[in-house]
C-alpha cells in the first residue's frame, strides 16, 4: 500500500504530484534504450585489463613485448602512459578524490594494493585475442604481507600500504607513517558531564562488512580519438563532466578536446561517480588510432571497483529515566580500501543527526586496507554509523522501559535544532515521520511466534551543486529540455513535470534529453540526491526565463509595454486596462512567431543550487527467525520518509523501496568474503547475495511532505535516505524476535544460529526463541 501525507498548506498543482508515464519509458520496455555496452563503432577494438593476483606487492618489472607481437594487438598501456599527478583533492560526488591516488588506482605504479588492481591494458581486434595478449604480459611482483581488516590495519605493526601516509587531523602529527589517513571529530558540549548525569548508559561495539552497490550493469565505455586529439567517449556514468575532468587531467589533454556522452545508466548508486576504464580506453584509442570498447566482467566489477567501507565502531548513549538523552558518543573506524577516502566524514556527521543533543562527540578514522578503493554508495557512510546508533537507541529505550518510537520522538531533531554535525535545521519532517510510523497499522499489527518488529530512523543531508539546463521553445509550441545529470530513476519525468507546471502546459509537450559535455555548461554529477532538487531549480528558472521572453515578444507584437502583459495558464495575454484587446498567445503561436520577433526563445539556467534540505525517514520491519537454522525472513516492511514535495510520487516511492531493499540485503546476507590470501572469494552474484524477488515482501511506503522552503516546489532530495534505516530496523526486529542483539553485519544464518545456541547454552534469560 502506498500513501501520501500532505502538508496542510499544500498548494494546488496541475502537474506536480500526478503520475504521467515517464518520457524515456517506452525505449526501456522495448529494449531500444542504449546503455554503456550497447554502443559500437566500425573498426572498434576490444580492450581488456590485466589485473594483479596479489593483494599487496611491489611491481619490479612489466614486460609487454611478447604481447605486442601477437597479431591483432594494436595498443598496450601501462602506468608509463599516464603522467604522475601531485596530491590534490577534488570533489567526486559526495566524497573527495586525490589525483595522485586516482592515477594509481586506474593503473598501478609502484605497487599493487589490492587483488584486481589494474596493471596493464590491451586493445586488440577481438576479445579472445585481447585475453590471449594479457597472458603474454610478464609482470614480476615482490609479494608483500597484506592487511584486510580495519582494526588490524590500524595496529602499529600492520603492513604499511603507503610509506608516506601520516595521519591528518591529529595534532601533533605522528612522526611515523601508518595506515590511518585521517582523523575527524564532530560534536559539542561535554559528553563526560552528560554521561555522569545519565540514569542509563548503553555502550556497544559493532562491525560491518564492505558491501557493493550491486548495479546490474557492469562498467562500460567506448572511446574514439582522432589523430588531432579530438576524443569522444560514450560511457555509463553518473557524471559526464566529472568523467571529462578526470580523463583530461589524467591524460594531460585539454578539457575541450574530450566530449563525453552519458549513455543510459544501468544503476550507479554512487559507484559510477568515478573512473576506472575510461582514461585507459582513451589512452588505448589514442595509441591505436581506432575506437576502443571496454566492458567489465562481473568478476572485475567485484574485484576492482569500489564497494563501500567495512567498519568497526563503538557507540555509547546515556539517558535519564524520563527519556532525555544526556550524552552520545561514537568512535567510527572506516576502511577506505587501497587509497584514502572512505565516507568517514559524512558517516560521522550523520550518525546522531536525528537527535537534539547537547552533549555529543563523534570521532572517526579513515583507514587504508588492501581492498579495492571505496566508492560512494547511496548516503555514503550513513547506513553504517546510523546502524550502530539506531541499535543503541533501541537498547536505551528498552532499558528505561520506553516505546522505541516514543523515545525517538522525545529526542527528535526539529526545525531550529542545532544538528549534531553543526548547522541549524530548517523545517524538517522527522517528527512527522515518527508520528506516521506510530499511527501506521503496521506498528500495531499482531505478531506470531518467532516474529519480531523493529523501527529505525535515517537521515541524509542532500546536496545542490552546479547545474545547467536549457529549455528550447520549438516552432510548433513543443519544448526540448536539455539537462546534464544522468537519469538514474525517473528524472526526465520529474523535470518535464516541473517545466510543465511552470509553463502551464501538458508534460507530453516537453521532451527531455540528457546532454553531453559539449551541449551544456558544467553539471555536477547525479548523486547526493540532487538531480530532481537542483535540476528542478534550474528547470524552473529556465522556464521563468522562457515566460519572460514570451511576454516580451507578445508585448512587442502588441506594441504594449512589457508590464502590460501577463502570463496565465500557458498563454500570454494583455493585462489590466488592455485586457481583451488582443487574443492570448500560446506557445505554438510564440514559437511560430519567434523568428520574426527576435529569434529563438530559449531559457538558459546555470546555477549552483543551494538550499538543499535534509530528508528524514523512519522504517518499520517485521521479521521471522527460524531458531533451528538462523534464517531470517522479512515478512512486512514500511518505509516512511519526508520528500518535501513529491513531484512524481511513483518515482519517489520507487526510491524508498529500492533503498530499503539494498539495506535489507546489507543487513542480512551481503558481504565481501576474503580468504587468508587476501583474495575475494565471492566475486559473483551467486555468492554475493543480493535480495531476489522471493526474498522480499511488498514494501509499503508513506510519503510525508514537509516542503523545503528553499526550493520553488518544496522538493527535498529523496534518493539516499531510504538505505539508511533498514540495517537497524532489521537488527531491532531480530532483537524483538529473539531477545538477542546482533552487533555484527550481515546477520547471516550461521551467525544467528551460533548466537541462539550460545544463548541457550548459557541459559540466557533474554532468549525468546
Amino acid at each position: 500500500m502506498q500513501e501520501r501525507v500532505q502538508n496542510a498548506e499544500a498548494a494546488e498543482f496541475k502537474v506536480i504530484g500526478t503520475r504521467p508515464i515517464r518520457p524515456d519509458g517506452v525505449d526501456k520496455v522495448t529494449g531500444r534504450a542504449r546503455f554503456g555496452a550497447d554502443y559500437n563503432l566500425p573498426g572498434q577494438l576490444i580492450g581488456k585489463v590485466l589485473r594483479s593476483p596479489h593483494p599487496h606487492a611491489r611491481i619490479k618489472r612489466i614486460d609487454t613485448s611478447k604481447a605486442e607481437k601477437l597479431p591483432g594487438v594494436k595498443a598496450i598501456v601501462t602506468s608509463a602512459d599516464f603522467p604522475d599527478q601531485p596530491s590534490e583533492f577534488v570533489p567526486a560526488g559526495e566524497l573527495l578524490i586525490n589525483y595522485r591516488d586516482l592515477v594509481r588506482n586506474i593503473m598501478a605504479r609502484e605497487k599493487v594494493l589490492y587483488e584486481g588492481h589494474a596493471v596493464a591494458a590491451v586493445a586488440a581486434t577481438s576479445a579472445s585475442i585481447a585475453k590471449q595478449a594479457l597472458k603474454l604480459i610478464e609482470v614480476e611482483y615482490e609479494v608483500l604481507p597484506h592487511v584486510i581488516d580495519v582494526d588490524e590495519a590500524m595496529r602499529p605493526d600492520a603492513p604499511l600500504l603507503h610509506e608516506d601516509m601520516i595521519t591528518a587531523g591529529v595534532d601533533p602529527a605522528p612522526n611515523t607513517p601508518s595506515n590511518i589517513a585521517k582523523r575527524v571529530e564532530f560534536g559539542r558540549g561535554d559528553v563526560a558531564k552528560g554521561f555522569a548525569e545519565a540514569d542509563v548508559i548503553i555502550e556497544r561495539e559493532f562491525k560491518t562488512k564492505p558491501v557493493h552497490q550491486g548495479y546490474i550493469e557492469p562498467h562500460a565505455c567506448l572511446a574514439n580519438v582522432s589523430e588531432d586529439g579530438q576524443a569522444e567517449l560514450w560511457v555509463t556514468t553518473q557524471g559526464q563532466w566529472v568523467v571529462r575532468a578526470h580523463c583530461a587531467r589524467l591524460l594531460g589533454w585539454d578539457v575541450s578536446k574530450i566530449r563525453v556522452t552519458a549513455t543510459e545508466i544501468g544503476g550507479g548508486f554512487g559507484g559510477k561517480t568515478v573512473v576506472y576504464l575510461e582514461p585507459v580506453a582513451l589512452a588505448l584509442a589514442a595509441k591505436a588510432k581506432r575506437p576502443v570498447k571496454m566492458v567489465m566482467t562481473r568478476d572485475e566489477v567485484f574485484r576492482a571497483t569500489g564497494p563501500t567501507s567495512g567498519a568497526s565502531m563503538k557507540v555509547k548513549i546515556g539517558a535519564k529515566r524520563d527519556g532525555r538523552i544526556t550524552a552520545a558518543e561514537a568512535l567510527l573506524k572506516y576502511q577506505a580500501g587501497a587509497f584514502q577516502g572512505s565516507p568517514i566524514g559524512p558517516g560521522a556527521m550523520s550518525a546522531f543527526a536525528p537527535y537534539d543533543l547537547e552533549n555529543v562527540r563523534t570521532v572517526g578514522y579513515d583507514v587504508v586496507t588492501n581492498r579495492p578503493k571505496v566508492a560512494a554508495y547511496r548516503a555514503p557512510g550513513a547506513p553504517i554509523s546510523e546502524f550502530a546508533v539506531e541499535s543503541v537507541i533501541d537498547e536505551v529505550a528498552k532499558a528505561i522501559g520506553m516505546d522505541p518510537i516514543d523515545f525517538r520522538l522525545k529526542n527528535a531533531a526539529k526545525e531550529g535544532t542545532r544538528a549534531a554535525y553543526g548547522p541549524k535545521f530548517g523545517p524538517i519532517g522527522l517528527i512527522e515521520c515518527l508520528e506516521a510510523a506510530k499511527a501506521h497499522p503496521h506498528w500495531s499489527a499482531p505478531l506470531g511466534p518467532n516474529q519480531g518488529r523493529g523501527a529505525a530512523s535515517g537521515f541524509w543531508f542532500n546536496v545542490g551543486g552546479e547545474t545547467t539546463v536549457q529549455l528550447q521553445l520549438n516552432e510548433d509550441g513543443t519544448f526540448n529540455l536539455v539537462a546534464g545529470t544522468p537519469d538514474i530513476g525517473g528524472l526526465r519525468a520529474s523535470l518535464c513535470m516541473m517545466a510543465a507546471e511552470e509553463l502551464g502546459i501538458e508534460p507530453s509537450r516537453i521532451r527531455a534529453l540528457i546532454g553531453d559535455t559539449a551541449s551544456l555548461g558544467y553539471n555536477f554529477l547525479t548523486g547526493g540526491s540532487r538531480s530532481t532538487f537542483s535540476g528542478g531549480m534550474a528547470v524552473v528558472e529556465a522556464a521563468r526565463q522562457v515566460i519572460a521572453q514570451a511576454c516580451a515578444r507578445a508585448a512587442k507584437l502588441w506594441e504594449l509595454p512589457v508590464d502590460a502583459v501577463t502570463f496565465e495558464d500557458g498563454k500570454v495575454k494583455p493585462a489590466g486596462d488592455n485586457a481583451g484587446k488582443h487574443e492570448p498567445l500560446g506557445f505554438a503561436d510564440l514559437g511560430r512567431l519567434a523568428g520574426k520577433t527576435g529569434g529563438p526563445i530559449v531559457g538558459n539556467a546555470s546555477i549552483t543550487a543551494h538550499g538543499a534540505a535534509p530528508s528524514f525517514g523512519v522504517h518499520i520491519a517485521d521479521v521471522e527467525v527460524d531458531p533451528e537454522t538462523g534464517r531470517i525472513s522479512v515478512l512486512r516492511y514500511t518505509a516512511i520518509q519526508d520528500a518535501g514535495r513529491a513531484i512524481h510520487p511513483s518515482y519517489v516511492e520507487g526510491q524508498y523501496q529500492g533503498g530499503a531493499a539494498q539495506g535489507i540485503g546489507w543487513a542480512l546476507n551481503e558481504e565481501y568474503i576474503y580468504g587468508e590470501d587476501g583474495r575475494l572469494q565471492n566475486a559473483s552474484f551467486l555468492d554475493y547475495r543480493m535480495p531476489v524477488a522471493s526474498d522480499l515482501p511488498m514494501i509499503d511506503t508513506v510519503i510525508i511532505e514537509v516542503p523545503n522552503p528553499r526550493h520553488p516546489y518544496g522538493v527535498r532530495g529523496v534518493g539516499e535516505t531510504p538505505i539508511v534505516p533498514p540495517l537497524a530496523a532489521i537488527a531491532n526486529a531480530v532483537e524483538n524476535a529473539t531477545g538477542l542483539r546482533f552487533t555484527e553485519l550481515p546477520m547471516s544464518p550461521p551467525r544467528v544460529l551460533a548466537a541462539i545456541e550460545a544463548a541457550r547454552a548459557r541459559g540466557d534469560k533474554n532468549l525468546k526463541v
Binding site: 522495448t30 529494449g31 550497447d38 544501468g266 544503476g267 520507487g654 552474484f685 531476489v692
Partner: protein, 158 residues
C-alpha cells in the same frame, strides 16, 4: 579456427550468422545481430538480464552457446510489442513505474511473459519465485510484481 554457420529465427525472422564456438547466444544476439536489448549483467546465469525464450523455453542466453541455436526459434525483448502496440506487460511496467534504471527490464519482461504464457493466473508468491532469477537493484521488486499481476488480470479479461 573456422566459424560455425548457424541459421535460426529471431522473433520470427530468419537469420544467418557466423560465430566462434565460445560465443554464447547472448554474444551472437548482441555482437553479430546487433540486438542489444538483451543485456549481460553477469555472464554466468545469476542475474537474468540476458533472458530469452528458445523453442518456447525461458533460459539465460549467456548459458547457451550460439552454435546450439541452429535451427531453433529465439524470442527476445525486441519481439515483444506488436508493431505499434505494446504488450500489456510493457504497458503495465510503464504505468506502475516498475522500472527505474531499466537495465533489468528486458529480462523481467521476457521472463514475466514466459510465466503468463504458462500460468495466466499466478499468485504473488508464484510471480516472485518464477522471477527469482531476475535481479533488480533499483526497485525492490514491489512495483514489478504489481505490474505483472495487473497485466495478468488484464490479459485474463481479454
Amino acid at each position: 579456427m573456422a566459424k560455425h554457420h548457424i541459421a535460426f529465427t529471431v522473433n520470427g525472422d530468419p537469420v544467418e550468422v557466423l560465430c566462434e564456438t565460445q560465443q554464447t547466444l547472448l554474444d551472437v544476439l548482441r555482437d553479430e545481430l546487433e540486438l542489444t536489448g538483451t543485456k549481460e549483467g553477469c555472464g554466468t546465469g545469476d542475474c537474468g538480464a540476458c533472458s530469452v525464450v528458445v523453442d518456447g523455453r525461458l533460459i539465460c542466453s549467456c548459458l547457451m552457446l550460439g552454435v546450439e541455436a541452429n535451427g531453433k526459434s529465439v524470442e527476445t525483448i525486441e519481439g515483444m510489442g506488436r508493431g505499434e502496440e505494446l504488450h500489456p506487460l510493457q504497458r503495465k511496467f510503464l504505468e506502475h513505474a516498475a522500472l527505474q534504471c531499466g537495465i533489468c527490464t528486458p529480462g523481467f519482461l521476457v521472463a514475466a511473459k514466459a510465466l503468463l504464457d504458462r500460468n495466466p493466473n499466478p499468485t504473488e508468491t508464484e510471480v516472485r519465485y518464477w522471477l527469482a532469477g531476475n535481479l533488480c537493484r533499483c526497485t525492490g521488486y514491489d512495483k514489478i510484481v504489481r505490474a505483472v499481476m495487473d497485466a495478468a488480470a488484464e490479459m485474463r479479461r481479454a
